[in-house]
Symmetry: C2
Subunit: 308 residues, 2 copies
């Protein structure tokens, strides 16, 4: 496991927002600048709260961004200058968060906004060309990243996870595939049933192969929820999902919260293992304005279950 | 006064974030696409809170962005696509907030990051080439914009003003040059004494001419504060200024809060007319992380003085 490199620190709310990079053991593949294989550079942000700065060990509620916020046109990292050439600037944005850097591009990875760079769907690809491109975000998020964070020496071992849209899907499957690993899970407008929506069918078909329905099911929150068994007898996984009713992706049948709701409804076997609250909010859409409106409640939800 | 055009609406915190544009009577000059003179298109955002949606008239605390956040490399409006050509995309960003659109570029307006597009210093230029370029942001913010906002028919007439960095300077001079117009004023890391800092000398020299020291003084918060007279007998202008001690622009002598502090300190004539709180915060820098850490306190400060 490679050493963390601190890229920047900004003091914020009495704590520190730190940006780190490291060379990944998990996200590796064909290198862009040689014929060989090797690791990709990965980058993430951590907020170190005042208590951790004072030496106290703290829990970590992780957040996975969605596809739209990994891609072009949304945010540029500070300091990117047009003088470098727009291609480079855009390329940086698109690869800035959680996708491979330093690896050779996969054929077609930039041809679709819902596939490839920025849309890894938090799965471990099994189709050769995506494997070579380092598309193993499930393992990265669930195994390597927690270990890498351990290097910071500020964590008390308790984790929870949340995310938005594709990142909400990533959060749900992380908690549902790793019973007991996360104290709680929440999502803003997640892709709840990817095996049954156009985005999921396209992404899973590409990364996992169009024939392998069992592999698809293993990354579908609704199907995983139905079979979920909580490891602690009598306890349940706390789950909070918020969804805006004016979300165009909801209307287009990409998110399908009703499927997840049905899977965990009172009286189902899943309800004995998952304590789910799924809320629909009139007038809200899919944007950051929606996320920011409910972010404080999600943080409070996780804080409660993390024992803060 | 031209009609407001609604560009987008996002539901947020129970209210609406609306983006508007209009053709400005104030920001006008040589048109880019003809030999004539004419108005520039201006753009701004408004948050319409739940009470206003329900028909109640509300006050408005305005916010003026700083130079860095008006310029390249910080934020792109959602929906800008690289396919349009990076030049156009960047150009939109740089002109998106409060600078002329549709006017001919001023010679040299893009050669310096601290002068020209994105760095209008919230003054009314008197030097011919900048006048022709529509550099009249003081009049726009203080006269045209409040009138334009009146078209929304949601305001109760009470206003306050805040801003960051160059926008903090804009907020301070707006309140100090218009006694009684604003119920309160606040600023994050403002340029407090522009006639005595490198940025101010360069900007004022360009827009107002290097010879006209009286014109410079009329846009300097520290000098204006010394001479400020509150119109209401016995009342004072509430002022809140926050500044991070690790702000590189503070260290470079661009912000000079100590000059403003001295001008309004207890025992000065200004202290009888201005109720100022100027706070220095260890470890904070000039970034959005600093702003977000104290934004809630500023909003509460204005809410109190606006009678919310």
């Amino acid at each position: 496991m490679s050493t963390l490199q601190l890229l920047s620190t900004n003091f914020c709310h009495g704590g520190e927002v730190r940006k780190y990079s490291h060379m990944s053991d998990t996200i590796s593949g064909t290198l862009a600048d040689s014929a060989g294989e090797g690791p990709s550079k990965m980058q993430f942000n951590v907020f170190v709260p005042p208590a951790a700065l004072a030496g106290k060990k703290v829990p970590v509620p992780g957040h996975l961004p969605g596809r739209a916020h990994l891609q072009r046109g949304h945010r540029l990292p500070q300091g990117v200058r047009p003088a470098e050439g727009p291609g480079r600037a855009w390329d940086r944005v698109r690869r800035a968060r959680h996708l491979p850097r330093g690896l050779a591009p996969v054929e077609g990875d930039r041809d679709n906004w819902d596939l490839g760079v920025g849309a890894g769907f938090y799965v471990d690809a099994t189709v050769a060309k995506w494997v070579a491109g380092g598309y193993k975000m499930f393992s990265y998020v669930n195994h390597e990243l927690p270990a890498v964070l351990g290097q910071l020496d500020i964590l008390n071992g308790k984790m929870s996870i949340m995310g938005h849209s594709m990142g909400g899907h990533g959060a749900l499957i992380s908690a549902l595939k790793n019973p007991g690993a996360f104290q709680s899970v929440s999502a803003f407008a997640p892709i709840c049933h990817p095996t049954q929506c156009p985005w999921g069918k396209k992404g899973f078909g590409a990364y996992l192969g169009s024939e392998d329905q069992a592999a698809w099911a293993a990354y579908d929150a609704t199907l995983l929820a139905s079979a979920y068994q909580h490891p602690e007898s009598g306890a349940r996984l706390p789950m909070l999902v918020d969804q805006g009713e004016e979300d165009n992706f909801l209307k287009a049948g990409q998110l399908l919260p009703e499927a997840l709701q049905k899977a965990v409804a009172a009286g189902t076997p899943a309800a004995e293992h998952i304590d789910a609250t799924i809320r629909l909010h009139p007038r809200y859409d899919h944007s950051y304005y929606f996320i920011q409106s409910f972010a404080e409640e999600h943080v409070a939800f996780h804080a409660k279950h993390l024992g803060c």
